[in-house]
Subunit: 392 residues, 2 copies
């Protein structure tokens, strides 16, 4: 590990944007427990989000404050440029203890800084901010005015900076290599796990110029009847003649993801699958063409829907979401969704994963595009064949 991969100016710009959003939301203090938001604000890396930790950002403090487990304090010193007095490790007996909670330690620090009457924003729907964390901090600070910050930092992250886009482009190279390994590896009789081993190796080995990181979701690989649902992983069963396999995976460069989905069929595909694939690809292109600055998220979905409804295909679930810096268990950013009713206006340098998956009784098809919003529409980060791949 080295120091942060972004310069001081990038972090200053991020913090200024977040503080402006805090002012608009009427917040003095933000408690971020989402590891992607912690990284975004400070550069902090490490698989330590399995214990409670957070970054505190106060409107009046120049620096964010990292709070985490004692043994992870050195990781904060190694991966961030925070001053030492803004790195607060808590004693180990706070970990998985029925009678004390790390949020009590956080509350003590907030009192020490005289912030106990602040208007405090919590990330109430972040994965690693449990019900107990929320209850503990609220009970320990009875004079504070708490509210759900509604993914405030995630919304700031929606528009990517130049350096962020550069890492996503590298992640696209990793995703393409992993998808190539997967499609090349599938054939009748080979075990699924043997192909997934090659996918992982490609994701991580990367190129001679740069390597890859772990991805926020494992390679998904539903096969056969499993293609009726998107989130199954692999087994050690063999690929079988006459069965389809959906591959959804990503590359990750320093936590910046680029996701991709493709579908493979071993042997000649049934007509309904081949026909569906052609329509879905046409619909995906319509969505990309519509993804221009000023268009709404729902308008992008409507462009897709306009194509598929002509062909009698229906889909009720959203067709896409923003992506970027991410930690397990999701590379989506949880802000806008490409679906009816979402009025988010697209801006240049927003990045979306458009993945209009079709899951029917016993079968399914997926193809996707990870794209950046440009004046001429959504521009995919990769140029990778979209057609249903046919293998022997």
């Amino acid at each position: 590990m080295t120091q942060s991969y972004f310069g001081a100016a990038e972090f200053a710009a991020r913090r200024a944007k977040v503080k402006a959003a805090m002012a608009k939301a009427g917040l003095d203090l933000l408690i971020c427990a989402d590891p992607a938001n912690m990284d975004y604000l400070t550069g902090f890396k490490g698989w330590s989000f399995y214990v409670p930790q957070c970054v505190l950002l106060h409107a009046d403090d120049e620096h964010p404050t990292w709070v985490g487990r004692g043994q992870d304090g050195a990781a904060a010193r190694l991966t961030t440029t925070l001053p030492d007095d803004h790195i607060l490790p808590y004693p180990d007996d706070y970990v998985q203890n029925r009678t004390k909670h790390p949020m009590h330690f956080v509350a003590d620090h907030i009192k020490k800084r005289s912030w106990q009457r602040a208007r405090i924003g919590l990330e109430m729907d972040a994965y690693y901010f449990s019900g107990r964390s929320a209850d503990a901090i609220r009970a320990a600070l009875p004079d504070a005015r708490f509210s759900d910050c509604d993914h405030l930092v995630n919304w700031v992250r929606l528009v990517k900076s130049g350096p962020e886009l550069a890492y996503i482009r590298e992640a696209a190279t990793l995703a393409s290599a992993a998808m190539r390994a997967g499609i090349d590896g599938i054939r009748t009789g080979r075990r699924q796990c043997d192909v997934v081993a090659e996918i992982y190796a490609a994701q991580v080995k990367g190129t001679t110029a740069f390597g890859g990181d772990y991805t926020a979701i494992c390679p998904l690989l539903p096969t056969g009847a499993g293609t009726s649902t998107p989130h199954l992983s692999w087994s050690d069963e063999p690929f079988r003649e006459g069965e389809a396999t959906i591959l959804e995976l990503a590359g990750s460069r320093l936590g910046y993801h680029c996701p991709m989905a493709r579908t493979v069929h071993v042997g000649q595909p049934p007509k309904r699958l081949a026909d569906t694939a052609a329509v879905v690809i046409e619909g995906l292109h319509a969505a990309l063409a519509a993804a221009k600055p000023g268009a709404t998220a729902e308008a992008v979905e409507a462009a897709w829907r306009g194509v598929i409804s002509k062909h009698g295909i229906r889909k009720e679930s959203r067709i896409g979401y923003p992506f970027g810096l991410a930690y397990p268990p999701d590379w989506g950013e949880h802000t806008a969704s490409l679906r009816p009713g979402d009025k988010t206006e697209l801006e240049p340098n927003m990045c979306f994963h458009c993945i209009p998956g079709i899951w029917e009784q016993g079968w399914g098809f997926e193809v996707s595009a990870a794209f950046v919003v440009t004046a001429s529409g959504g521009k995919p980060f990769y140029d990778f064949p979209e057609a249903l791949a046919i293998k022997a």
Copy 2:
């Protein structure tokens, strides 16, 4: 994917144990959002825990009820043997929506079953049961009596069944293969990412008899000054002469994990590292010898402490935790801890990962043993050299 890897008798025994614990705790209904607990109670698999989902277990209902996102309903049908009327997919617009929450859907079902006055146990410290989930279900069911179930299912999981131990043994084979790939792969000038690609491939490819699954934590690989902290992952920098690398990883067989940590040094190690390694290994063996049925968790730690204190080594953090069925971001079970004050009595077939890591200013050392409690002490699942590995 196939149907569950355990028979009906195993699930019946699990549910009976959980219901007995519920009766003891005064609970009518349990809402489990921890994916490992959902899997334990139903066999449900899938990387869908990034959206709210849960299993409801009511004392008076023969079957648990799965609630999750619409597109994951087919995964519940494919991986569990739950009757169709106990699989409840919610519409997609509940996903990441500011004004409605999946827990409202859960509350509606609870009312439909006339359980709205029940004594309901929540997993208040589960990763995927956010503050917003907790607030939403409590607000929607004002007549229910809620309490934190305090990891009730996790405590039931502490003692493993025969079929569970068989899968952990297979996971030990995977962990050993992955560790072997890592130690063999490290040498001066090779990139860290190239070695981690080989680790992942070994974890997943497995043996000719069985393959491996994704692990709940990525391979951890702090190197150089990074060995002063446990949870850093790899980079694309090369391994360097005169630097140590800590490898902590696991194998996973159908979600059943077996973790392992070892330390490698490129070139001749400094005396303080070699001396520390010898003492830590001696202390680890003392802990294993003490891990007999009837001993307390704190007694196991005391045996370790007795050895290291003679040699002037101090360690404040816990030295181990139970492991088994796990999903990201942790393969620990969050119940007992091998540390002072923990009076949990060991029983046969409990499984612990004893990992007495030493993290000092600028350097560190880790070695571990994943063991099962037996009458003759803690028996490691693998036989893998514990000494500091020296590479060129």
